[in-house]
């Protein structure tokens, strides 16, 4: 059973998701195909069909704290199999963007920190720099030595590049990041 609390943010969340994703949430008839095919649904506390239903029933910002929001791997199986053609993956993207905007609590594994670390290397070098991103992420989580035992072998085999990438058009990429920040500032 799904119980939800009506609160003041409810309309804003449904409307914001529909606006950001271009999805009409009302056409979902809860066949649960999205949840059946979802590779992480069995590991998460929430399922995609439940997210859809809660949104439709008027859930508020508390939905942005659902573990599935950042456990979703963007595999898009849900969107590909929805009989109503709903882009469920776009709904998940919208929820993530809203979670960032509205300051939702940090999820397990801190994917937002990872994404920031990844995009920072892109903004700096024009291309992603794996070792730079991994270091920034691990420093941020405070678990620097976690999952690092394979690094020596990877470096030895040349399976990961030690030095930052060169040759990318950094000027254009810096401009893109600057313009996006400006347009967000203008909206806020």
């Amino acid at each position: 059973m799904i119980t939800i609390k009506k609160n003041t943010t409810s309309r804003a969340l449904k409307d914001a998701v529909e606006l950001l994703s271009g999805v009409d949430l009302s056409v979902c008839f809860q066949c649960k195909k999205c949840s059946s095919g979802c590779p992480v649904a069995k590991l998460a506390r929430t399922r995609p069909s439940e997210i859809m239903r809660r949104l439709h029933l008027g859930a508020g910002n508390e939905l942005l704290a659902s573990d599935l929001v950042w456990m979703c791997v963007s595999c898009e199986t849900c969107s590909a199999r929805c009989p109503m053609g709903i882009d469920v993956a776009a709904v998940m993207d919208a929820l993530r963007r809203l979670a960032l905007e509205r300051g939702a609590p940090k999820p397990e594994g801190n994917v937002p920190l990872f994404n920031r670390a990844f995009l920072k290397t892109v903004e700096t070098f024009g291309r992603s720099y794996e070792i730079g991103m991994i270091t920034a992420y691990k420093l941020g989580t405070g678990k620097l030595m976690n999952d690092t035992e394979k690094f020596p072998a990877m470096l030895k085999k040349g399976k990961i590049a030690l030095l930052p990438p060169r040759g990318g058009d950094r000027k254009t990429v810096k401009r893109i990041f600057r313009k996006i920040k400006e347009s967000k500032g203008a909206k806020a």
Binding site: S74, A80, I134, P165, G168
Partner: protein
């Protein structure tokens, strides 16, 4: 056959072997590849999880460079291929997105550059008869589980790459090379993609499911065309074995590495030494059957 080739960031790091084998195979088959000067990151998953306009502008910066080259864009990384095609779709179908991209890039881009996956070029432009004619060796009945993952086939309406539930492109290549492509249920399952570092537990769980099915089908190796799939399936076997007491030792190779082998290209040039699970069993089987 002349194309603009977008390698993608992984090509310079964890997928250096994919890039090496792509270039070697292209040379052998007379496919001319030209890198757009100053190509930059497509933004990948982090981009579209963060901001829609960012997720479209980063690929568009590359697509507009390729437009100036007046060539089709060829991509081998499934993730980059996906982002490029989605960006084209977003720009062509939403005037406001196109306007936003114009402001971000300081130039207009209309979403019209044709984006092709290398597999499409191999099957449609080069063609299986020409490929078969160029082969120097056979896969000698090697049992190959072809693994497509997510980003090559979804969203199907935008990518239009093969059948999204039971794709056969890689299988057709394997069969043409004299391998035995396996019928198995995990072709388009997800490996956990970008959660490799953040939720390693999820990735270990998902990759184990895929490895288990590949082994049950009797696979000698898994063939992929996505750097994230390759790294997750290859790298995480050690973790799975440690956590479960099982002993997975399945080589996870790029389809271009297999094709390169059959075209008679040396293993060094194809980046075989970079695999975490060595492909010695695969090499032995193929080299035992040289036509030369």
């Amino acid at each position: 056959m002349k194309y603009a080739y977008y390698p993608g960031c992984s090509a310079e790091s964890t997928a250096h072997d994919m890039n090496q084998s792509t270039l070697a195979v292209a040379r052998a088959l007379g496919i001319e590849l030209h890198e757009p000067k100053g190509w930059t990151c497509c933004g990948a998953t982090a981009g579209h999880q963060t901001d829609r306009l960012l997720a479209v502008s980063l690929p568009a910066a590359n697509l507009s460079k390729v437009q100036d080259m007046k060539l089709d864009m060829v991509v081998n990384c499934a993730a980059c291929y996906n982002r490029m095609k989605v960006a084209n779709h977003e720009i062509s179908s939403h005037p406001t997105i196109r306007q936003g991209v114009r402001e971000a890039l300081d130039r207009d881009y209309d979403g019209s550059v044709k984006v092709r996956h290398l597999i499409e070029v191999l099957l449609e432009d080069v063609g299986l008869p020409a490929i078969t004619k160029s082969l120097k060796r056979s896969l000698n009945g090697l049992k190959v589980a072809c693994y497509y993952g997510c980003l090559l086939v979804r969203p199907p309406g935008v990518l239009k790459f093969d059948d999204p539930e039971n794709p056969k492109s890689l299988d057709r290549l394997v069969t043409a090379m004299g391998g035995q492509s396996l019928d198995w249920p995990c072709k388009v399952e997800c490996c956990g993609g970008g959660l490799s570092l953040t939720r390693t537990d999820v990735v270990v769980h998902l990759t184990e499911g895929i490895l288990e099915m590949a082994c049950a089908a009797g696979a000698d190796c898994i063939a992929v065309s996505c750097p994230m799939c390759q790294v997750n399936l290859d790298l995480r076997q050690q973790d799975i074995n440690k956590q479960t007491g099982k002993n997975y030792q399945v080589p996870v190779v790029y389809i271009t590495q297999l094709l390169g082998l059959c075209l008679g290209i040396g293993t060094g040039e194809l980046g075989f030494s970079k695999l975490m699970v060595p492909a010695s069993s695969v090499l032995k089987k193929v080299e035992a059957n040289s036509h030369e």
